[in-house]
């Protein structure tokens, strides 16, 4: 398992009230698996994905990412786990407007102290279908293209895991479908592990496995063909 968590809890204090954003979740994700996390707003999707991607630490529970125990690590230690292991895509693309597509894609290498390799950057851009947009700036791209740049930025580090939090939230249906097709391609061709949160059940069923959350707990976990069947029935 590339990610394995047991009894994961994440509580927040809001005034005198304790918010149980995640309340005892057990999860295991295999290398090369594409997993969708579904659920209504406030169900704990983003909290779970933040824990699995080492952006946040659980209040309780054990969590292993790429073989390392990450529960109880400090923020600086979590960065070390993330570096080169996890790539991120968010609903907001957060591309730097003054940088070209190529420069945006190569940005993480600056922090990893790796020298950019133009051939590798070209390969990644070709993979996401933006080979001809390398010199463009974000304001010259469509929403779908900007999200592809964000995906390329996540891929440039050769991460084993790609985490996507509502990646199609700002896209139209056609662009959203294209992004999910790209994810499938990456899983199939590159053996990438992809974890996605989404509101959109149709897109969610494109994954190998669908986990449904409600009130901070997993209420359903099923393979996608089962999910699709149930959805159609």
């Amino acid at each position: 398992m590339i990610i394995e968590g047991h009894g994961l809890k994440r509580y927040y204090q809001r005034g005198v009230e304790t918010v149980k954003a995640l309340d005892g979740v057990d999860i295991a994700i295999k290398q090369g698996e594409m997993v969708s996390i579904l659920g209504p707003s406030g169900s704990g999707k983003t909290t779970l994905i933040n824990l699995l991607s080492c952006l946040d630490a659980p209040t309780e529970g054990t969590l292993f990412v790429a073989g390392k125990s990450v529960a109880g690590l400090s923020e600086d230690q979590l960065v070390e786990v993330r570096r080169g292991t996890l790539g991120f895509v968010f609903q907001q693309f957060h591309l730097l407007p003054t940088l070209t597509v190529t420069e945006n894609v190569e940005l993480p290498l600056l922090f990893l102290m790796r020298k950019p390799n133009p051939a590798r950057t070209g390969e990644v851009l070709a993979m996401v279908g933006l080979g001809d947009r390398a010199g463009h700036r974000p304001n010259e791209l469509s929403g779908g293209q900007m999200q592809r740049v964000a995906i390329a930025r996540a891929l440039i580090m050769d991460s084993k895991i790609l985490v996507a939090d509502e990646p199609t939230g700002n896209l139209d249906r056609a662009s959203g479908e294209a992004i999910f097709q790209l994810f499938r391609k990456l899983v199939k061709e590159k053996g990438l592990t992809i974890i996605i949160t989404t509101h959109n059940t149709t897109f969610g069923y494109e994954a190998d496995r669908v986990i449904t959350l409600e009130d901070g707990k997993i209420i359903k976990e099923e393979n996608s063909w089962c999910a699709r069947r149930d959805s159609n029935s």
């Binding site: 946040d56 923020e75 991120f88 968010f90 907001q92 957060h94």
Partner: protein, 421 residues
């Protein structure tokens, strides 16, 4: 060890995102630096100008009529009105003092140049010139560097013969202003003491002096007896310039004690005058420095504000950068570097502004106050520029600390969430 060069390109591109805001912030720093550089140049230049002016007077001690010694000293250095006079027998009493190496009597008066100068005729305005009545041999002992100008029209320059009544020697600038050459006629209207009516006199120019960079350049010299006669002050003089055989504080004190017993005179050491002039100007400089310091603080607050705004605007991006592997230190360096770039560019622009504006600053200072010196009073040296740039960089380091710390401390989860709003 920080690796600023790694992020320099990114920092500059970040600053270019809000070009006008960045340019305004840089301008604020530039203005503050320009003020600081001009002030530094003025402090340095003024002290140098005072030193030079006093050295070029040629004597260390002045004996003059009682009154404000500094006003009198300033008059000697720069020229001025409100002259008071000594009885001329003071010279006879003092000249035999055993500590004196050389002594020269000087009579200073102000003459009207109405209708005499070419430029005056064109403008139909009155102007004045300083007349210095001197004893040429003893005066030249004090100022051996004074030379006559050569070249076409200036050949054969010489000092007037003692007692001559129609010969003058003109300083470099006065000659240029009046467009006089050796052999020309120079007119001056002198109002004798006790009269209200100026009397026009005609002089022959017998020599034009080389430039000395002192008040002498704007002076018209004539024999002391002639000057006294025309100003109708036959038994008076303005100062006695004295060079002591041995000049130190002790000897100066001794000399001063001996001659202060004369009721009508005061003894003024030029070192003392210099210190007082510098101290007087230092008070003004302190006030200007305070204004400059406020300008620097305001500029620094502007820089911090700009960078903080930029950090808040980029909260989401900072969160993404941290998610993608940026350490706290990386974000700190990046934001700190942006502050430094603003301060450094501001400092360089400020230095350029100060250098280009030296002439204007000098003109403004001279028009506002009589500083008692001729020549350049603003001296912007590489040292002054270096300190200004260094100071701006240090302020940049300090000013960048808080925004950089603030950005570096953001939790990626919170930053991404806030940035998504």
């Amino acid at each position: 060890m920080f690796q600023f060069t790694r992020f320099i390109g990114l920092a500059i591109k970040n600053l270019r995102r809000r070009m006008i805001r960045t340019a305004l912030t840089i301008s604020g720093v530039a203005l503050a630096v320009a003020v600081a550089v001009s002030l530094g140049g003025f402090m340095l230049g003024y002290k140098g100008a005072i030193d030079k002016s006093i050295e070029m007077l040629g004597f260390q001690v002045m004996i003059m009529a009682k009154g404000c010694p500094y006003e009198a000293a300033t008059m000697m250095l720069k020229g001025g009105t409100g002259l008071i006079y000594l009885p001329s027998d003071t010279y006879d009493k003092v000249k035999s003092d055993p500590d004196i190496e050389s002594i020269t009597p000087i009579f200073v008066g102000i003459a009207q140049k109405e209708g005499s100068g070419i430029r005056d005729e064109a403008s139909q305005e009155k102007s004045f010139t300083i007349i210095s009545g001197i004893d040429a041999p003893s005066f030249m002992t004090m100022k051996p560097w004074m030379k006559f100008k050569g070249g076409p029209g200036f050949e054969g320059g010489r000092w007037f013969s003692a007692g001559s009544k129609d010969e003058v020697v003109i300083g470099f600038e006065a000659a240029e202003y009046e467009q006089r050459k050796v052999g020309d006629i120079f007119y001056a209207s002198i109002t004798p003491a006790g009269s209200m009516t100026p009397v026009r006199h005609e002089f022959k120019v017998v020599g034009i002096l080389e430039r000395t960079g002192t008040q002498d350049d704007g002076t018209v010299f004539m024999p002391i007896d002639t000057a006294r006669e025309y100003f109708n002050r036959p038994n008076q003089l303005t100062i006695l310039g004295i060079k002591l055989k041995e000049f130190n504080q002790f000897k100066m004190h001794e000399f001063e004690s001996r001659w202060l017993k004369l009721p009508e005179v005061q003894v003024v050491g030029l070192q003392q005058v210099k210190n007082t002039l510098v101290a007087l100007v230092a008070t003004a400089q302190t006030m200007i420095a305070a204004v400059a310091a406020i300008a620097v603080i305001v500029a620094l607050i502007g820089v911090i504000n700009t960078i903080l705004m930029s950090v808040y605007e980029r909260t989401g991006e900072i969160g993404i950068m941290k998610a993608l592997g940026a350490r706290r230190r990386d974000i700190f360096e990046l934001i700190w570097l942006e502050t430094l770039v603003i301060c450094l560019l501001g400092a360089l622009l400020g230095c350029l502004l100060a250098m280009l504006g030296t002439g204007a600053v000098e003109k403004a200072i001279k028009s506002l106050a009589n500083l008692g010196v001729n020549g350049s009073i603003v001296n912007i040296t590489p040292g002054v520029l270096g300190y200004a740039v260094l100071g701006a960089v240090i302020l940049g380091f300090l000013g960048g600390l808080y925004p950089a710390w603030r950005a570096a401390s953001m939790r990626p989860v919170d930053a991404i969430r806030e940035g998504a709003v």
